[in-house]
């Protein structure tokens, strides 16, 4: 479980996060949604230490992440997987090397064990024969899958996904969403997904936090969000004509 308490972050005069308090449970896919510029990505980056918050606390299963020393934090991050918006695959490595990299750096697994694990995660993301391809040879959807494979390769306890559907067609988006959801349940991972994709919200949102003006504006799940009377949430959910027709 990840607990966030009273998190604040400003960039100059611009207050991006304003007293964010919440918790993300293990085995559940937690979604942070909101309009562009609402602070979603900044929140995710604060949670993993890529951005230092001005105030507040982040607890990973009771361990105070922000209070840790650099060395303790690096140790803690070995339990974290992160799927970046642009996948952030290492250009100079093949798919296999990308996935093996965290195993090389973070574990004491033997070469055979690493090869087995790489094969397992590649099978899991349905990319059995992509070992020798370079990121430049992959489609957007394949890059996301490799990104997921790399993130889950060292068996993380916590998985963060920053806009996993951006730039993908609706069908591929659903495949990626379901993959993240299944992996979360299979391995009992605490998963936090940053998104503004309504399909994701409806398909996999076990817990949803709606950010508005840097505040935790609304919390619920994929059922309650469709019935909420909160105006800002309604404006976000029913922004498209398609969703308006469904509501009608």
């Amino acid at each position: 479980m990840i607990e966030v308490t009273g998190l604040y972050k400003s960039f100059g005069e611009n207050k991006v996060l304003d007293d964010i308090t919440s918790s993300f449970e293990e085995g559940k896919t937690s979604l942070i949604i909101g309009a562009s510029g609402s602070g979603k990505s900044t929140l995710a980056r604060c949670l993993v230490g890529l951005v230092a918050p001005d105030e507040g606390g982040v607890l990973f299963d009771g361990r105070d992440f922000l209070g840790m020393t650099g060395k303790e934090r690096r140790g803690m991050l070995k339990e974290v997987g992160f799927l970046f918006q642009g996948s952030a695959l290492f250009d100079f490595m093949t798919v296999e090397e990308n996935i093996r990299f965290p195993l090389d750096m973070l574990t004491k697994m033997s070469t055979d064990e690493k090869a087995e694990r790489v094969q397992f995660v590649l099978d899991r993301v349905e990319l059995k024969d992509a070992h020798k391809l370079f990121p430049s040879e992959l489609s957007g959807g394949m890059k996301k899958r490799v990104g997921i494979a790399r993130a889950i390769a060292p068996n993380p306890k916590y998985l963060f996904c920053d806009e996993p559907n951006s730039g993908l067609d609706p069908q591929t988006s659903i495949v990626i969403d379901n993959l993240i959801h299944e992996i979360t349940q299979e391995s009992n991972i605490t998963t936090v997904v940053i998104t503004h994709d309504m399909n994701s919200v409806i398909e996999v949102g076990d817990y949803i936090m709606f950010l508005h003006q840097g505040k935790n504006w609304w919390e619920g799940d994929n059922k309650s969000i469709l019935k909420t009377e909160n105006q800002e949430v309604l404006d976000f959910v029913y922004a498209s004509e398609f969703m308006k027709k469904i509501k009608a």
Binding site: L50, L77, F82, F84, G86, A88, F90, F101, M105
Partner: protein
């Protein structure tokens, strides 16, 4: 007016100190204990190939022609019968060993390798690959920059020595194929008053310059932000600043070691 003058003086100085401090902190991180030595060893050899062997061609071409031109220029500028002909070979050797091979080659490599390093690391920064390393608990500064610095520091003295031989060979070629200077005079000149310490001085410079033309572009790339345009600017800054620092360092080393 006075306030403006203070601001004009203070802002660049503050900016310089800010970058100097951040550069020092990055170098401190770069030289901290690596996570897995075996991974770094492999990267070191890869970088030696990329930074060293891949630069060999351009080093040899430039050295050959520079050696030839130095010989012709020296000959063209000596018009006194009192100056012996072997002075041409002597001047070509001294110019090559003391300045051309260590310093001019460093400036050329600052352009070739420096822009490569700054753009490679800068691109990794803007595509979040460096963030990915940090999230894995890997010291990104050390993982990305240390092998490049070590590879250049190890390989650059070899490149400089090769450059020396090729450049002097370029002068020999002129002696062989033209009547500017005779081969015996040129050969006598390149052996005349040879001081091995001058080669050591050149090698000391090559090591220091290699550190400069890798670490400064790496710093520029590491802290690049925004778009591909910014990566391009970081690459340019990396080349310009490393070239300036090489020239300043050259002056300081020469003053300290030779005078």
């Amino acid at each position: 007016m006075k306030r403006l003058r203070i601001r004009v003086t203070f802002v660049p100085m503050a900016s310089f100190l800010y970058h100097l401090g951040r550069y020092a902190l990055l170098i401190w991180r770069v030289f901290s204990k690596p996570e897995k030595v075996s991974i770094y060893r492999k990267r070191l050899f890869d970088e030696m190939v990329t930074l060293g062997l891949d630069s060999l061609g351009i080093i040899m071409i430039i050295s050959l022609f520079m050696g030839a031109v130095i010989t012709i220029q020296t000959s063209a500028n000596i018009d006194s019968a009192l100056i012996p002909a072997y002075t041409i070979g002597f001047t070509a050797r001294q110019s090559t060993i003391l300045e051309f091979s260590p310093t001019i080659m460093a400036l050329i490599l600052a352009g070739k390798i420096g822009s490569n390093i700054a753009s490679e690391i800068g691109l990794m920064r803007v595509t979040e690959q460096i963030d990915a390393l940090e999230i894995m608990g890997v010291n990104s500064g050390s993982y990305l920059i240390l092998p490049k610095i070590l590879a250049a520091v190890v390989i650059n003295p070899f490149l400089v020595v090769i450059s020396m031989f090729v450049s002097i060979g370029g002068g020999y070629m002129i002696a062989q194929f033209t009547d500017i200077v005779s081969v015996p005079d040129y050969v006598y000149g390149i052996q005349f008053d040879f001081r091995p310490f001058h080669v050591n001085y050149a090698l000391i410079k090559s090591v220091i310059f290699a550190f400069i033309f890798t670490s400064i572009p790496a710093y520029q790339g590491y802290y690049a932000s925004g778009s591909a345009l910014e990566v391009g600017k970081a690459s340019t800054r990396g080349v310009v600043f490393s070239s300036i620092v090489i020239l300043i360092a050259n002056y300081v080393i020469t003053q300290l070691v030779l005078i």
